[in-house]
Symmetry: D2
């Protein structure tokens, strides 16, 4: 990345993360979720540093970075578990901002997107359902909404809704029947947190703890919203999910890769300090192998992200490329952190260092936003279609 | 295993674990370490069922099983995180009983081993040290003891001392100078918990939480013990460590493999219940691949344990075989649990199921009792020596 | 294996292979298939040494070893690519002897099995078909036979029929319609090589070259055989295939594992002789890792074979266990030889050593006798059934 | 790659390879090395199509592509085993052209580079030595040269010298003592094929067969050359080796990746044609997993090559990046071809398809041009140095 403006921004984010954010990680000790108080403190610091909302359009107060530029900045932010939160570019808000920017009406943008981009509120995205509902296979969506003549009435249960507790509003995905000119399908609804029909049932106690507002189970019971709550158009929910998913997957990769780089830096420090069997760890072949495999995984991850970002910036959908990047990076990040733990020995599995926490945080990434197996299925199917088409006579 | 006596014992352990022990796992919710109160309750139930201390000699009230028989029983016990504790065959007590049985004087056995085999007390084994002391490389031992004319005086710091908090006594490994006829080397000392020179500094907050008494940091400061505290002979500490290690590694493998079998059973249940993409998970190729890889890993682990156990029962040292089993099983168990998590999707990383806890518990096994890399180094060195010897002219 | 009789036999096979067989490997230089002349020479030497036909029943002149004993002897034989041929326990004859012993009528045994066990002739097993016929999925069998009132008439094409060129007879698997009391299904036929309806079309030029008589494509065109040519009973072909497969898979594993041990021994020799970066290769961590991984793969392979052999000797079908062993060992052997090649650098890919040839020979083992994926599918399905049954109320 | 000029060139190369080059692969049947007659025929066709010498500077008649542009064209060329040869961008000539362009004197360029770029002659690069000489560790160089007052006299043995038989000249790397102002070190010499002191001893029979002129063993015996034969300066041989290596590694990656793409295309064709277990292979999960892993490996390889190429085009050395790309791509290409073979079943290991040949061709790539382990060692060492520097106070 040679643009001096971005290089300068990257350096500022790097300093900010090391000086302001990493010290705050101690507040996650013992597996505590970050609090809204911590969030506000960090976001105010980021705002003072001019680093808030790098992915949001300038019009809404963000830095308006291209996807390629986001890659640079979000990796730096991800160097701390709290960095993306501090910069207001963490999931799910970052993805919601993108979706609202692309799909919402001007009124919806003013009401929902603007305060989100200013980090005044948080939001959530209510799509995933517990078994036997929509998990890996979105077509199994069971939450439904129907128009009763006066309002849309939503019923169903969602879970692993990140940040639901404390969010000002939710985007809720529900199955909808044919409605006017709109075909049967799925529709996204904007639901205010104070809607009595939407209730956060519990925080799901999960392996990862790094998200403010937790991963929640959310119940929709006769939840009534007006026609203005429809995000975009009725029946287009699955299409909008795709609008959100490809870039959201990629920003996930950027953030997690930053954390993997941190783990590798810790490992590189460790091997120059620790000795065993008469050598520095850094000079032992098996340690070198782990360090080199980490470097390779980091380089391949960065390169795959860069390629997909470049395509997205050119206006392509990059579905295949973002799927490939997600599948690879999610697994690579897991390997990198795991090797860093191994290189630290017993210290690596203690919480004296944050590595053990990183290990917990990154594991779900192979499941969230499309399990590795689902991505592989779609990657294979796309490859088969592409090849079949290439062989067909025109 | 065709011995009907062992098959019957296995079935009794199986029932006991499912009926009495697994329900108690809920007391570990939220990452709580098992308490001594829970331990006593479970061990009384095991005693009532005639299942206490399967690895301890009959003379001391145990079941006196051979290593091959232990393999059967400890895998069943390991099906629950609390099973080995319930049966009084968990680390470190199980290894300490073995060591005391082999090395301790009759007086030491009466005083220390007998109450341990009856599960009246717990013990600990204080060998590992924080950097730059003895971790993977035991020759880096820094804790030292010297004879001041009246007593042995031990100084040094230990960490990851499992079960230290609440243990009635510790075996402490310390570097000792030449002493009488004994060469310089290492010596093991029995230290009572009320010795003012031994102090539990803290519980190390670790990825795994399943051990009663935690993983502790322990300080020895001018810790004075009499000559009767020397376990076995002065200067033979490293040799005794080998006596303890090979079988202790293997019982570790047995226990963890039981947990891996539990994870696989949960995965097998899941895939028959959950559908996606129009099929039962059980009928999807990628799920089958994970299930099959688990079966292969389980079978290979069982087979390696069986082979090493058979050799130990024949009186061989089986150092190479137990090292190979440890390296393979520790990694296989991690893979098995990881695949079971993946097959459960988001549910797998939630603590609604114990799988996420299992994932945390098994990760350190690749580090504890010899990191995989250290075992590989010694496996390779042994293979080179064996081959070189085979080629030499006689 | 402690039986001194078997230990002595193992030592004799070991000496025979090193002294008589390995020197003959030079006749495979340049990728030449072993000739029948070479086969006869080696088999006469083996007969003189009392080592011929270790798997054949004593009644037919073999050594009558149990499966567990075969494991010991066939691994030693497999130490050379030509060892199994020399001892007359190579595929496909070894599997055919087993099948004929279990299923053939006394007359068929006298006529076909007896000379095979005496190594007077070779045989072949004609089951696999080119696409779209029976490959991984035997239910796709297209070769058919019908009774025309006087004879069975076989039509179809087979390929990868090992040893077909020069075989005295073939077992041909064909789809048969309902016939008398026999249901529609598959039937095995004994076809003499001089039957004009059976023709060896070509040797398939394959990655592996180590089988006498090659891998052939064989055409059956109105191939007429009498009722006495039916092996066992009409319609039971698929069941007999299972009778042959489980032990044949296991003997495959034994033989290939012997070759893997040879590759590892070569690697162990190499690392003590070659230096780089100021050390013996044997002292470099990455080399140690490869050597250790080979030791682990060898030990796990041996242990899985031993377990399945033990079950077969007890009269169990051991389908799951032999499938697991086949899947694991086929992949392990590939990894072991690959690592041995890598440890030899450029020398390893030259044919100055036989390693490059080994690499070619072992690759197809992941496909022959059930591709790894097919085994994994059936391993998973069995595990699901077993678990479902275990949960069912009785 | 959006430059329409390059897209057009890529399409022309693609057509040329499919129409003119792939049909010629049949001449490699049975493991035959390509002949110089075949080479000339293909290169004339490429010259007619305006596609000769894409990496050579325009001044010498090449296409003068940047490294990033080479990536596009060489991957297309590599789609056939004979493509790089046809376009005169195969190893070792392509690397030699680069080195001569960077280091040779104008006279040397006129005499050696010009005819090479016009594909009138072939060349070779004589660096690697048999044990105990320079293999993975170049510092073990044993071939030596000394100035006897009238000429340089070279003595030593080289092996795996690709293309030596039939080459018009060689670049020979030899250890040289202090000479004038030049320190002791290594020096590169240009040796004409008719020099009586240089002799091709044999073609080494190797796993891969795709290089014209083979991999040869070459003996230098009192090989006398004049001062004008010194390439660049005396004593700078190791530095020049680096000049050649980084880009040569990368062009290796490009070519092999083209072959991997071909293997994947064959696999994609196969899975839509072949059925098993009642489904197209393309719809079976385990097949999808292999196809998807191939897509991921291809994408990551392409991305790593693109990143390193971009750096080289900016004038950076990109040593770390080209090392990472080499280590990853060499292994990825092996995995891709291996999976393609597996998806073809028995057909995949037959030479009815070129896949079995591809498998043989790509295996040595993990050894040639720096074994994976050597690259990992240097990748780790660089990472440690970079991190140590980043932490140092300025």
């Amino acid at each position: 990345m040679t643009d001096p403006r971005i290089a300068e921004l990257r350096d500022r984010v790097r300093s900010f993360v090391r000086e302001e954010v990493i010290p705050a990680e101690r507040e996650l000790a013992g597996g505590a979720e970050p609090t809204d108080e911590l969030r506000r403190r960090l976001q105010q610091a980021a705002a003072s540093a001019g680093l808030l909302s790098p992915t949001a359009p300038k019009r809404w107060g963000g830095l308006g970075l291209s996807v390629s530029e986001q890659a640079v900045v979000l990796m730096e932010a991800g160097y701390s578990l709290l960095g993306p939160l501090a910069l207001n570019c963490a999931a799910p808000d970052e993805g919601n901002m993108h979706l609202m920017h692309k799909v919402a009406s001007p009124e919806q943008q003013e009401r929902y997107l603007a305060p989100l981009a200013r980090a005044e509120v948080r939001s959530c995205f209510a799509m995933t359902e517990p078994s036997p509902g929509a998990g890996s296979d979105p077509s199994m969506l069971r939450t439904s909404a129907h128009w009763d003549g006066e309002a849309w009435v939503i019923n169903g249960r969602k879970w692993f809704i990140t940040g639901a507790d404390g969010a000002a509003w939710a985007i809720c995905m529900a199955r909808t029947p044919e409605h006017g000119d709109s075909p049967a399908g799925a529709t996204m609804f904007l639901v205010d947190a104070d809607n009595p029909g939407m209730q956060v049932v519990r925080h799901i106690d999960s392996l990862d703890r790094g998200f403010v507002g937790g991963h929640c189970e959310v119940q929709f019971t006769d939840c009534r919203v007006g026609p203005e709550a429809v995000l975009g158009e009725v029946g287009k929910g699955f299409a909008y999910a795709q609008v959100r998913l490809a870039p959201a997957r990629l920003t996930h990769c950027m953030r997690w890769l930053g954390l993997a780089q941190r783990a590798q830096d810790m490992a590189l420090d460790r091997v120059t300090e620790r000795e065993a069997f008469g050598s520095r760890l850094a000079d032992l072949g098996m340690a070198q192998q782990m360090l080199a495999d980490n470097e390779i995984d980091l380089a391949a991850s960065r390169a795959l992200i860069a390629q997909a970002a470049w395509l997205l910036d050119r206006g392509e959908r990059a579905s295949a490329e973002s799927s490939i990047a997600k599948a690879f990076v999610a697994e690579a990040v897991g390997r990198i952190v795991d090797r860093a733990v191994q290189l630290h020995g017993a210290l690596g599995v203690s919480h004296d260092l944050p590595l053990a926490l990183f290990l917990r945080e990154v594991r779900p990434f192979r499941i969230y936003d499309g399990a590795s197996e689902v991505h592989r299925m779609s990657i294979a199917q796309r490859a088969v279609r592409r090849r079949t088409a290439a062989r067909s006579p025109q």
